[in-house]
Symmetry: D2
Subunit: 152 residues, 4 copies
């Protein structure tokens, strides 16, 4: 039913540089994250995406915590998740994230979740972000953040 | 940035009957659902979708609890959310859901979130579902559920 | 194993007035709140407590949203929950809350959760709160809030 | 306000062996775990406790996943948390857990949360558990689990 995202192929918007390199963030499925179907509930995946996105930035010397402290946020404007295989309690999942496109008014990340144990594809996803100020208004990403993000 | 979903227009797949009627489920944003940006965290919206979907079924005499008890689940295979305006702590949000298409192998719901206070559009979304058995295998929806869903 | 809280008896600290009257807040157990044991996960109960506490205030004309907007919070300093019976998906639970004691430096609420369907006691609990300012420092509750809380 | 738990002192019930050794589980505070006060929401701490408890077992060759698969659960019957200092987004927190007492009918864990960065005590807590079967009935812990737990 779910159409495969084009993650494995080279997306057209993708900058010809290191951003194509996904950053890994391994999470372990918590018991609290399961539901009565015995699998990780689908609403947890965006939380894992976020953890991996924050890691993507950290690895590149960009602290999302610092960005937030400066009054700037990357509000999520759109989210897409394709669920391929269930994730189970205690599974270790590699949550890969990539910055696919970056403009002063918007960023696009994509994600690829793979279970470490058996290399099974668990899910793919996309999130779009709008830089906002403390009051939630959309703003342009200042050069202090835009430049290093573009250089990735 | 976020492209509007076609919710307000009549989608082509929509059956020519009562399914087009969205079912309302009013939720109040919990404090625990906010994040440090001061808004409802984006991962909570799929939880609200789910609550409204369960209500959609209940209103039509279809108990999701009973479906689960019978060993049948509607696993989420795809999810899409467009965030339009922030939702704040204590806001009352009308979470409207509609069954857009139904086949024995898959269901499609869409959602429209509106703040009661000022009629502001908060978000739209879509979820695709695959009927599964207890072991998580995709199955055909039995007539006992398919027929009444089609009749909607 | 769990020792019963003294909820049903009149606790010594309880002011001799309307605060003794619990305020009801009916929640319905969400699918996302269940875990793979097939019951509402224990970490959700404090979220329900909070929803009921906010309702307790609202019913008395005290808006927690307004309190927060004024820069004042009621940080949780202690929490206790006794789990008596499992709560299941789709159960309607009456989450009763009472303000048991109020001082300028601290508040104590207690809770009693009962399933509507069969009047089964699901859980009891207690939360202690410290008024804090925006920076998280403990402060005295201003008269604007202390007085009406005491009058309850 | 919150009375200190006796974690640092030797509790009377504590078995004179390795169980006294807390097991560390370092978690990083997720953005989704913060609330609009700008701190980790208090309902997340029990989720961290649980993650550490599962780690405590794993380190000792006891898989909670396996226990669950065998139809046995450790249902939480009581929970207590004392919040000492706020935890912030992106903080790394050492969540230490210890098995304080073990009987065939009940287990008691305690917890101590310390921020790695500045060694600040974030919280302490206790959880009581009742072994249950698949239907949620309290059962005696079978020797296959009781023995190795006692030997800790």
């Amino acid at each position: 039913m779910a159409e495969p995202l084009d993650y494995p192929q080279s997306p057209p918007e993708q900058p010809a540089n290191g951003a194509a390199q996904p950053t890994s963030c391994v999470i372990r499925v918590r018991f609290a994250e399961t539901d009565q179907m015995g699998v990780a509930h689908h609403s947890v995946y965006p939380v894992w995406f976020e953890a991996s996105r924050v890691e993507w930035m950290r690895v590149r010397g960009l602290s999302y915590r610092e960005m937030e402290a400066s009054g700037l946020s990357l509000a999520v404007s759109r989210l897409e998740v394709s669920y391929r295989s269930a994730a189970y309690f205690d599974d270790e999942i590699d949550v890969g994230s990539r910055l696919v496109s970056v403009r002063s008014r918007g960023l696009l990340f994509d994600y690829r979740l793979v279970r470490l144990d058996d290399d099974r594809l668990i899910a793919t996803g996309v999130s779009e972000h709008v830089p906002t100020d403390r009051s939630g208004r959309a703003v342009r990403l200042p050069a202090r953040w835009l430049e290093p993000l573009r250089r990735q």
